[in-house]
């Protein structure tokens, strides 16, 4: 491993100072809190851990959080790609406004999002009323949770795919057409392989965000244990019961999961760099 000092002189001096600060900052904010989580959970015996995990309420929460996040991220992968395509490929009035709106779920306080989504999708709301007539319950059901998750994780796929789409030369599609490929073949064989790593990265980030989402979901979910209770809420409940080890045990699984997602994202990006060098 080579240190920056051994190379050419950097534009910004003070390697020791900045590096020291970086390590301190990361430790205080990330490493120490996370290792504490491990320590807390470590106080439980294996038996206790197992009972916590295997409790039907915990399992139901995991199933709902992971399943819901998977569906939300999947839906966003498809429609996010579509929106990115529209934003990159077409010029229309209001394109910039639409482009800005994409970031709104990032900027909006999640509680605000939760309240407005609930208002619309509740049986008394505009969309919820229509769905209710069709026999579909949106708010206070897994569907409502998925809607909230999809809302907060919308920007990821769009923002990761947009620059890659922008990079694709129109000529490449024309080349595919002159070689006899139809639209579907051109998309599947030429465009998709080029943007797939970006879409998957966006998918993974959207999934991670959806699993961890709390603020907007608690309003629309109804929070019925075993039915519409998500993992972050379960942790909250355990904390309110002063059951710290129980809360941390549940949280630990989320932590491991996040690490795995992070690893997956990094691997995807490495793959993207290898398969599509300029």
């Amino acid at each position: 491993m080579r240190f920056a000092r051994s190379g050419r002189r950097s534009v910004i001096p003070g390697f020791r100072l900045t590096m020291g600060f970086s390590v301190l900052y990361m430790s205080l904010l990330v490493l120490i809190p996370l290792s504490t989580l491990g320590l807390w959970a470590g106080r439980l015996s294996w038996q206790e851990l197992w009972t916590t995990f295997s409790a039907s309420r915990t399992l139901a929460a995991y199933r709902l959080s992971l399943g819901g996040a998977l569906i939300a991220a999947g839906v966003n992968a498809v429609f996010g790609l579509l929106i990115a395509w529209v934003l990159v490929r077409y010029r229309f009035p209001g394109r910039r406004i639409l482009d800005t709106l994409v970031d709104l779920p990032f900027a909006l306080p999640t509680a605000v999002a939760g309240i407005s989504l609930t208002a619309i999708y509740a049986p008394t709301g505009i969309l919820g009323g229509l769905l209710d007539k069709a026999g579909i319950q949106a708010a206070y059901s897994p569907l409502g949770i998925i809607i909230a998750m999809a809302f907060v994780s919308l920007p990821f796929v769009i923002r990761t795919t947009q620059p890659v789409l922008q990079d694709i030369d129109r000529e490449v599609e024309e080349a595919a057409a002159t070689l006899g490929a139809n639209r579907l073949q051109a998309f599947v064989r030429v465009i998709l392989p080029a943007i797939l790593p970006a879409v998957l990265t966006g998918f993974a980030m959207a999934f991670a965000r959806a699993v961890g989402e709390y603020g907007s979901v608690v309003f629309i979910s109804g929070n019925m244990p075993g039915r519409t209770e998500i993992v972050p809420l379960l942790i909250m409940t355990r904390l309110e019961e002063y059951n710290y080890p129980g809360a941390t045990a549940v949280a630990l699984v989320l932590l491991v999961l996040s690490f795995m997602m992070l690893l997956a994202i990094n691997l995807l990006q490495a793959w993207a760099r290898r398969s599509a060098p300029v």
Binding site: V172, E174, A175, T178, A181, N182, P193, A194
Partner: protein, 358 residues
């Protein structure tokens, strides 16, 4: 396969890229579309390919109307200026693409595809590169992959859009000779676009000179160079000296005398431009008795097979003169020397566009 373009017009918004252009390319011919940027040459190529739909007019392949035929069905091989290779595919997969996307019943078997691709890679001299990615190739190699890819579908017409435009001078020279040989080998009807007159004159059987959405002249390289049909063609094909004078429209075979006196206006004269190529100007250190322009040497570039001399005339015009190395040695001129320049061959185009009356 022959190509016929009939009265094709194409506009982009207010800009008319092609104005009623008609052109015939015979089967097996190698034709260059030559012109400055914005002359419509690339648009014409794309209309032939089916990548642009003309606003009016038609495109015929072998006498058959192909105007509404989709680019997929036209069986044209198209080579893009910036190669447009599929980055995530190896060289092999790039070349095989056109065969793999065929409908199942006309798709060659894997073994057939493999032998066809290796045959093509041999043709473009890229054997052993099959497993590389485009990013691992040089510009010239990428362009040859693009060519092999276009040829894989056995096109009836090969269209090349500034194929060597993005390459450096040395590689360009090699590739254009190579393209000429390749064409002699496979004899597919080919049209290529270029803004480089040397390239057009060296490679093509016939050259189509375009300007502002119109065809100025069609002819063999020798033809367009020796007998340019318009002032534009004369100007575009190589360096040329231009004299703005008034010329007697009754006797357009003018004499060097008329170049001498810019202010004299013979009766019945019309404003015209007189063109003289640098190698058609003779340079002397003394008046020879022949009508000539007096001037001073402003700049000399003796690096090259021909010596380029820049002369500032007494009328304030700057002339480009080319002379042989031997003659340059004999003349013994330096910067500032007084010289006499005599035009040997001239060409006159009247400014009002009417042809010479002769």
């Amino acid at each position: 396969m022959s190509i016929e373009v009939a009265n094709v017009t194409k506009r982009f918004g207010d800009f008319a890229a092609l104005k009623e252009v008609s052109l015939r390319v015979n089967a097996g011919e190698l034709v260059a579309l030559l012109g400055p940027s914005g002359s419509g040459k690339t648009t014409l190529l794309r209309v032939i390919a089916g990548l642009e739909a003309p606003d009016a007019g038609s495109v015929l392949f072998e006498g058959e109307d192909a105007t509404t035929r989709h680019v997929r069905q036209r069986r044209v091989g198209f080579v893009f200026q910036h190669y447009a290779l599929f980055r995530h595919m190896t060289v092999f997969e790039n070349v095989a693409f056109g065969l793999r996307v065929r409908p199942r019943r006309v798709r060659p078997t894997r073994a057939e595809i493999r032998s066809r691709v290796s045959e093509l890679l041999r043709l473009v001299q890229l054997e052993g590169f099959a497993r590389r990615y485009p990013s691992q190739l040089s510009g010239g190699q990428r362009q040859r992959v693009a060519l092999a890819r276009a040829l894989a579908v056995e096109p009836k017409v090969l269209l090349l859009d500034e194929p060597f435009g993005a390459l450096d001078a040395k590689v360009r020279q090699e590739l254009r000779r190579w393209l000429r040989r390749l064409h002699e080998e496979i004899h597919v009807t080919s049209v290529f676009v270029t803004h480089d007159q040397d390239e057009a004159l060296e490679v093509a059987d016939r050259v189509v000179v375009m300007n502002a959405g119109c065809i100025e002249q069609v002819g063999t390289p020798e033809d367009v160079f020796q007998n340019p049909a318009s002032a534009f063609v004369m100007n575009f094909l190589g360096t040329v000296n231009v004299f703005h004078r008034r010329v007697d429209s009754l006797t357009p075979e003018i004499d060097a005398v008329e170049i001498q006196c810019p202010d004299e206006l013979p009766a019945g004269s019309r404003p015209a431009r007189i063109f003289v190529r640098p190698h058609n100007l003779e340079i002397n250190t003394h008046a020879t008795g022949k009508p000539s322009l007096r001037g001073r040497v402003q700049f000399i570039n003796a690096a090259g097979p021909q010596v380029k001399v820049e002369v500032l005339t007494e009328f304030g015009e700057v002339l480009q003169v080319e002379t042989s190395q031997e003659r340059y040695q004999a003349l013994n001129i330096t910067k500032g020397s007084e010289v006499y320049v005599t035009p040997k061959e001239m060409r006159v185009f009247f400014d009002d566009g009417r042809p010479n009356s002769a």
